[in-house]
Symmetry: D2
Subunit: 394 residues, 4 copies
């Protein structure tokens, strides 16, 4: 079997199905979508892509399938799901997810259409995922369900104990240089069990489960939600809205772009913001306010509320509308709290077995921040307008 | 002082000069130029850029300046040279260097024009290197000379014992997962001495010097000259020639493009080759011949000879001209053989102190390969035409 | 300056004082005292010693002194304290600490006697710490006070933010292979400040402080308090008591033994237990009970209560007294909760700034276990006797 | 299956046979024999033992057996051989090997007696290797033959491409911090083939084979033959001779000692040298002469010639006999040069396929050094006496 050298897992062995999927246009496109999008503007070594991440997820899924002793037919569907779980991402991954959802109604993990029809922009001479699926007798609907997290094996692909998270935590740590994501995935996989249709950790692993939770909490604060990355991400989302609004590209084209396509399109069509993102000339924080400082209700804002607020603030501050970017994260969730662990012979949710879960939930809440960003020269006027607009206490 | 987290050297501390240079358009552009260009098609984790590499070179240069106890004025010029040594690279670095040289007469390390005038495409609102140089009283001509390797401290920036190589070997090992580049740069730097205007390694370091040589030799064979990377690189160079020939972009624009600009331009202007590179639908080896199998003289071929041969082969094989790519590396050099080491109190060239140097020179020669590449369907006809054309023994 | 290669921090540079201290008998003895004593019976790669750990602590202390800009006189005392902080340990470190304290009234960090008089068993021809101190004009009382944690710089050697913990967490992770100790010591040191005579972390570092706490909590559960290591440690403590009770060695000799001396002495003088420890023929858990299952008051047991209980259980179970080992850890403390961090311009204790502290305190409590150990063949009878003795609920 | 955490290979899975062998007295003794004996006096982190090394060898052997698709009966013998290949070592491994050979006629890898009879000092209650072998129907003679390197699978345990070397190079690099041993064992094992009863590397792996050779050559010079380690090793060998000469212990006891037993025995019976080794008060180099400087014939000296020379030098210098230690390494061999590789479809010896082999052979020769060591105070007189004795040119 072929093997690919990976800087995280060393050799990743590919079976014939995986080798063929690797050569499809849908999978090759992932070479051009960075795993951490704008985080590289803070941690300059973090240029890894969803391509090698997907290989890593495939690698861990293969180990988990061995551990759980799954039959060949189910295994091939899980392997395909592991490898392809990210092909539905638009350019810059999560940064454009909301926008694509508003236009298409689809999240990045709803990929049945793509698995069934293949990339609409593939040339005739190019191999697509459906070509490979039909050769290997793989049902796109079953793969799509696994990617959505359905069923006991779907939990392995997308759930509290999924191999997606195990790979990205370790990989992001390797590439940022921030150690806190380095979990013991070997142990997590060795301790997986299927009990009554649920994927759980065997007896004696409350702390193993907590380690996942803690690693994510630390990486959230230090890496994923770093304010510089958030500023760049919000500017990017803002620029993409304008790109679509000006009908420079269709949503169909947009969602199949790769990072480099988007960077060039923004540079050409939304030059001010585009160039700023490319050359890291970022806006500054005019407002950066925690849960206690903002009125209740703000956490429920959606993107159109954000845009409305930005318009209002810009008008009040006397600056151009594109010079105000409002960034209101949604209410923090702590998905891993639903991890199931065997304790004293009984399957329990981690939040019932661990004192840490509720503390981490509070910690997540206390790390929440509303951001309003503007060019350095406009920061003062935007700050005062934004405080008025949102009713923020000083 | 500010610090940046790096996955290789951990924290890199930046002095005020470095911080300001970091924010220039010329330096920020390096975020978008990958260190190993097409190697990522073989080693998918190798997506690191010349941005973080340049930070690493700055970091090691700072250590070396401390070790050598260099005064402040010379130090600031060396620091600037270390940080900026790669800003003259075109998109995809070495892969486009020959082409740019043929059009402009300049190699990537001739950057006095750029240090003096700044990036010609910078907007007025953007900070350029000359802005920073004038604030810090730095002479662009001196920096350019250091980047060329002139003088005893120029050897530190570009020479047999330069910090450029020390960084890239370790960094490329970290990101490819191939361990052989992991040299002991700490020791190399601790053992640096300036003796009679030459940068040398102190007594007792023949093996330290050999380690650099061996690391490069191993990385050459396994990473830098991997045939898949060479095929993609040769296809890219071929596509770029066409891009310029069709005057879709000027050479002035071309040389200041970043990787993503080039990828989009090729995709749009040279679609067949462009798309193949983007989606890794690479040509196959029709010919792959070593020194013994090819006629003397072939090693001296230049790019126009290559193009001439490709035309001839395509005609003989009855395929389109773009379906034949000829790739003839120049005669291998072993630059590190000139490393100077103190042996028995006398400064010697490594090749006089080490048995390994001549063996490595032979090994390099035996690894040399002429390549002719073509689409899978045309491989047979191209092979036979190419053998005739070059007079290659079977 | 001399440099020593370390597998964790790479080169550790030693100033002349450190070089001379390195060659003293007191410091060289640390080569023979393992950092993690019986943990190696669970994690076989964990054979590192207090020698290289002490070098690591010296290395980090040097960085912290630079960061805090401390003058030469105070610095040399801190360097000496960092390097020598562990020379008061008996064989097997913490495992014999209680025993030595009962006989001498001294803890391992009370070392003024040793710094003043030197190792009582040093030969005349050997260099001791007092020899070096007098050459370098170092006051043993000041060094001893720093090792005890007195004063603002004492907190750097022994306190909530000490470099001791920073080194051992990372080193233990490196050698066990358990990743959770790998903290970002570079950041912790960069963020140290002295404010009003207290060592604190600068603004924006609540999560940095939490990372230390979490790393210790994870390593506690997975490494330091692993039940196999606890069993071996309790057997060792029991065997040492007997060694001293039989007056085979004096307490003066005992406390200056190295690991290998103790292993041979136990093998010869307490052969049954000694051989079992050497060949890892460990007792099994007859009882392993958490806080909820045991009567209040048990947590306050001291060593003589343990011995009394063991005698009683052995009699009831009809086995030899040495075949019952009772192991009651003291009430868990969470020393790091007193870490001081600047939040909103005010120095706060971490427990007031972090939701995690109280959760970790609860988690520590829920991980507490009383252990009673016996040879495999006696486990059943000892279990039932022990439950009666302690009044443990089933 | 059980798994053990290793700092080099992460989890090592043990089958039931391996688990039982792990608990034998012969295997547990390896916990107390350091892999690199006196190297830790130069690289203080290098305290790893033959216990975890043997687990690593077992781990790689298991991977190789899978790769080569070996049947269950042969596999179990190879697994046993991999795990037990080092149990014949005396204390301090190679440092006492010559001495034991002179007394018993056996090298460390002749272990049939031990596999058949078990450790002669095992207590009745302890499990020995023969107990486990009889339970698992394993033939000690076959295992012994594999450990000696007999047969195609013997080459896997002890030969040019053995997993022993693959493990120790990587492990020694991890623990010393010297990177040069970090080979790509994953690739080496993937490329193993059995062709005509020989273990070879598949086509395309000349450089893979060279990497092993180069890693050993670098580690030899920088780690294994570091002069400080050689001095301590020669002092230790000298002290052991005296220990046996004084009949303080029998050769039967001596060869089954562990490191700590020997250290205590030397301390007690040969106190001057013993204490010096324990506290690193090492002799200095009076003579350190290369091949060119010494008369032909010296390379053929055996240990009794060395002792004779030491006596003569001591007399001439007017110092005690134990104050002169003569250390003459045997002629360097380059075992890996016989590695077999498929080149152009034909199995070739590496030395016929690689230019590097003969260069490394010369390099090894040029690194050879004769050493004569003495206490600092006696260095001058011993130097001049030694030069006379050996006829060394200045």
């Amino acid at each position: 079997m072929a093997a690919i050298k990976d800087s995280v897992h060393d050799y990743i062995t590919l079976n014939p199905l995986a080798q063929e999927l690797l050569d499809t246009v849908e999978f090759q496109r992932l070479r051009h979508i960075k795993q951490l999008s704008t985080v590289r503007l803070v941690y300059p070594s973090a240029n890894h892509t969803r391509f090698e991440h997907s290989l890593g997820v495939y690698h861990l899924a293969t180990q988990a399938l061995d551990q759980l002793d799954i039959d060949a037919d189910r295994s091939k569907h899980v392997r395909a799901a592991a490898l392809l779980h990210d092909i539905g991402h638009g350019p810059y991954g999560h940064q454009t997810e909301g926008l694509i959802h508003r236009h298409t109604g689809r999240d990045h993990d709803e990929i049945e259409w793509l698995l069934t029809n293949g990339d609409p922009f593939a040339a005739d001479s190019e191999t697509t995922v459906p070509d490979v699926f039909s050769r290997h007798d793989i049902d796109p609907a079953r793969v799509a369900a696994l990617v959505r997290g359905d069923g006991e094996l779907g939990q392995l692909v997308s759930g509290e104990l999924d191999v997606d998270r195990m790979d990205y935590l370790v990989r992001d740590a390797h590439h940022t240089g921030v150690p806190y994501g380095t979990i013991d995935h070997g142990r997590l996989i060795r301790e997986l069990r299927l009990i009554d249709g649920e994927l759980v950790l065997a007896e004696g692993n409350v702390q193993t489960a907590e380690s996942l939770l803690l690693a994510r909490a630390m990486m959230n604060g230090i890496v994923y939600r770093h304010h510089v990355s958030r500023i760049a991400g919000a500017m990017l989302a803002r620029a993409c809205e304008q790109l679509l609004a000006e009908q420079a590209v269709s949503i169909e084209q947009f969602q199949r772009m790769a990072d480099h396509d988007l960077l060039v399109a923004l540079h050409e069509q939304v030059p001010k913001l585009g160039r700023r993102i490319e050359r890291r000339q970022l806006y500054k924080r005019a407002v950066w306010a925690g849960v206690e400082a903002v009125p209740a209700g703000l956490m429920e804002f959606d993107r159109s509320d954000e845009r409305e607020a930005a318009r209002e603030i810009a008008a009040a501050a006397g600056v151009e509308e594109t010079e105000v970017v409002v960034d209101i994260p949604s209410r923090p969730r702590l998905k891993e709290s639903a991890t199931q662990v065997v304790v004293g012979g009984v399957v329990q949710h981690l939040e019932d077995a661990s004192e840490l879960v509720s503390a981490l939930r509070s910690a997540e809440r206390s790390q929440w921040r509303l951001g309003v960003y503007a060019p350095a020269t406009a920061v003062e006027s935007v700050r005062s307008a934004a405080r008025d607009c949102f009713g923020i206490q000083t």
